[in-house]
Symmetry: C2
Amino acid sequence: MERDFIKELGYKALDNRLKRISDRMSHDTRKFFKEIEIDIEPSWHLVFKLLQENDVITMVEIAEQLGYTHPSMVVMLKKMTAKGYLVSEKDTIDKRKQNIKLAQKSIDLLPELEQIWHSCENAIYKMLDKDLSIIKHLDEIEESLRAIPFNERFNSEYQKVKH
Amino acid sequence: MERDFIKELGYKALDNRLKRISDRMSHDTRKFFKEIEIDIEPSWHLVFKLLQENDVITMVEIAEQLGYTHPSMVVMLKKMTAKGYLVSEKDTIDKRKQNIKLAQKSIDLLPELEQIWHSCENAIYKMLDKDLSIIKHLDEIEESLRAIPFNERFNSEYQKVKH
DNA sequence: AAAATATAATTAGTTGACTACATAGTTAAC
DNA sequence: GTTAACTATGTAGTCAACTAATTATATTTT
């Protein structure tokens, strides 16, 4: 077993640690999707879920509710549309808006997708050993970052030590 | 305050949650580096730290100790070399190996970098409200993922429900 | 009514990870 | 001493996020 420098650093490499875990999970998920030959990206999960709840929704609304920038969403939604999972049409009242909804292809696939997501959620639940207390920690971190962005925190520490 | 769908989903969107936090932190860090006009990528942090401890080291060793694939490291180390922070030369005994070490430019910069990293670590420590228990959770998650990869976990849950 | 501002979507370019494959050199097996 | 297997590195292509700047349309102000 070789050395794990990031683990050794503990909280000091928090950022790297979080990224490493989330990358590991999404790459593994992509691998699984390939195995079961479903033509869907893992990252589309939440878009499908959101559109299941909201018949019609605009790009900006999706971005806001998922906490991403809209340029990120544009790219993702364009891919999903290209693959035939979404349809979008211009709003007749406000012509800047694109109203997005699930295409029939998605609606047909939903029962299958539900099973997949449910399996994913169960896998996470068991991986966490049914201990959900980490979520509270994550809530707190995001709360802190919302209150004072990390670059500000970083900078005020830096101002103390730099000469 | 708009809705936060990912937060609502709790453990079910663990992956997205971890990614969102780590992305937020690294983008904020990059922003800070721009502000103080230092020509360094946040992701180089651990490479510098590792090379501070190990005078000379090969690409594969860096990749292993940081827990990344070597293609990822090749790209990063090439950039760092191009910017003059690293020097590498072929091992005389084993000509496949590239021996990598800090260039003078990096050595001169180290005191400054030390201050920056120290500030970063302090910022994280305070952001966590001095409660480091989240790290234990992360250790456990990585331990679980190492024992059984996520795609396997996902798959065994899926086999139970699919018809 | 015209000008200024705001909003929705888009495009382009950057970063940082990955997998899969290719190449070069080393070591082991026969 | 060849051949086979392994190891170190490199290349190509994919993916998901970002920021910054652009375009088109709406809204507000003067």
